[in-house]
């Protein structure tokens, strides 16, 4: 008897092996495509990998939870890799120390701008108040953003999605935007990416330049804590 394709599928769909392998394979191909087209922003490998995997899961009727059971092994590495961001940061500790005051000021302005601009523009575009509350913390790393969203009455799960979309947008446009503005200072580039688009932006900044990556990692961490303090106050001021 020939083994049935459905039987094999049923077996594979239940082990972590299939979705773990699929995640690595799709990302590997997406990254290859990204390099082949000369690292064009819209070919961002995270964006391509997410779109391909979502399409594939939807086609096969696989629930996200089942996918995540396999992919969680990749997801887990986010933690230790975030800790490892201390390494590039340490390498630029000298410059960091000399820039302490300007850095703090820029972080504060960036953090305020991020929350205010998205709420004001969203409101002008007719976005509902519930969605605006979920949008407010979109620039900070997912676990902090979800906590803030809950605190100000948004939907944490919607916030998680908006955070990731923001990260992908930031990673996609950053290089082009900076080139157009003739912004060549790597610390300023990194800080801007980290404040506006957290970890996904930081990952992109690390590929652009080691110093930019160091400052992006710093900005991501500090902006998260700062936004957690500022967002509830801003939400009140904005009448959310």
């Amino acid at each position: 008897m020939q083994p049935n394709v459905t039987d094999i599928w049923v077996y594979l769909a239940q082990t972590p092996l299939l979705w773990l392998t699929a995640t690595l394979l799709v990302y590997y191909l997406a990254d290859g495509a990204y390099r082949r087209v000369g690292q064009r922003p819209l070919a961002n490998p995270v964006l391509i990998a997410v779109v391909v995997l979502v399409a594939f899961l939807t086609m096969t009727g696989t629930p996200y939870q089942q996918y995540f059971d396999g992919a969680q092994f990749v997801h887990f590495l986010l933690g230790p890799t975030t800790v490892a961001l201390a390494l590039p940061l340490w390498r630029y500790a000298g410059r960091l120390r000399r820039m302490l005051l300007p850095l703090s000021g820029a972080l504060l302005i960036g953090s305020l701008t991020s929350v205010l601009s998205v709420v004001v523009i969203g409101r002008l575009m007719g976005v509902s108040d519930a969605a605006l509350r979920s949008l407010a913390p979109k620039s900070v790393t997912t676990p902090i953003a979800m906590g803030i969203s809950e605190q100000i009455g948004g939907l944490p799960s919607l916030t998680a999605v908006l955070v990731i979309v923001t990260g992908i947008i930031g990673a996609t446009i950053a290089q082009d935007l900076f080139d157009r503005l003739r912004l060549n200072d790597q610390a300023a580039r990194g800080l801007a990416i980290g404040v506006a688009s957290h970890g996904i932006g930081t990952a992109r900044a690390l590929q652009m330049n080691a110093e930019a990556g160091a400052f992006a990692g710093l900005a991501m961490g500090l902006n998260g804590a700062l936004t957690a303090l500022l967002a509830p106050i801003l939400a009140q001021l904005l009448g959310l």
């Binding site: 490998p45 995270v46 990998a49 997410v50 995997l53 979502v54 899961l57 996918y67 990749v74 997801h75 590495l77 933690g79 230790p80 890799t81 975030t82 800790v83 490892a84 201390a86 390494l87 590039p88 940061l89 390498r91 500790a93 000298g94 000399r98 820039m99 005051l101 300007p102 820029a106 991020s114 601009s117 523009i121 575009m125 976005v127 949008l135 620039s139 997912t142 676990p143 902090i144 939907l155 999605v161 908006l162 990731i164 979309v165 900076f178 503005l181 912004l183 200072d185 610390a187 300023a188 800080l191 990416i193 404040v195 506006a196 970890g199 996904i200 930081t202 690390l206 990692g217 961490g221």
Partner: protein, 124 residues
């Protein structure tokens, strides 16, 4: 490899426990990063740690993919307002980047440190 990974995980673990004990508004790994930064300032970075760290950092974008796929759970939720939301996110991201970078360059000039801009940072 084993030593480096262990150090990273220990920092993360201490970070997670501290965040939960003190109810800090930061995720455990970010606090772990701060802790490791402190250790590096004190002791420097040995090769075995640097190798593991750089190895992981090269693949940082990949590690966001599983969470990113979670978007599929909310496609319905985004359907009605997706255009307005996307425009708001795009515009806000651009404005935030310009404001942050602009503020930093301005403050660097005001504090007389602007001339350092563009120089490569020195290793100690």
């Amino acid at each position: 490899m084993l030593r480096g990974m262990t150090v990273l995980l220990v920092c993360q673990l201490i970070g997670e426990v501290t965040v939960r004990t003190l109810r800090l508004p930061a995720p455990g790994p970010v606090l772990g990063m701060a802790l490791l930064f402190g250790i590096l300032l004190w002791r420097g970075a040995p090769d075995w740690l640097d190798q593991v760290g750089q190895g992981l950092l090269r693949f940082l974008p990949l590690f966001f993919v599983p969470a990113g796929v979670g978007v599929m759970n909310h496609i319905q939720l985004m359907r009605t307002e997706w255009l307005a939301i996307t425009v708001a996110l795009l515009a806000s991201t651009i404005i935030t980047m310009i404001a942050t970078a602009g503020a930093l360059l301005l403050f660097l000039r005001l504090t007389g440190r602007g001339k350092e801009s563009g120089y490569a940072a020195e290793r100690d």
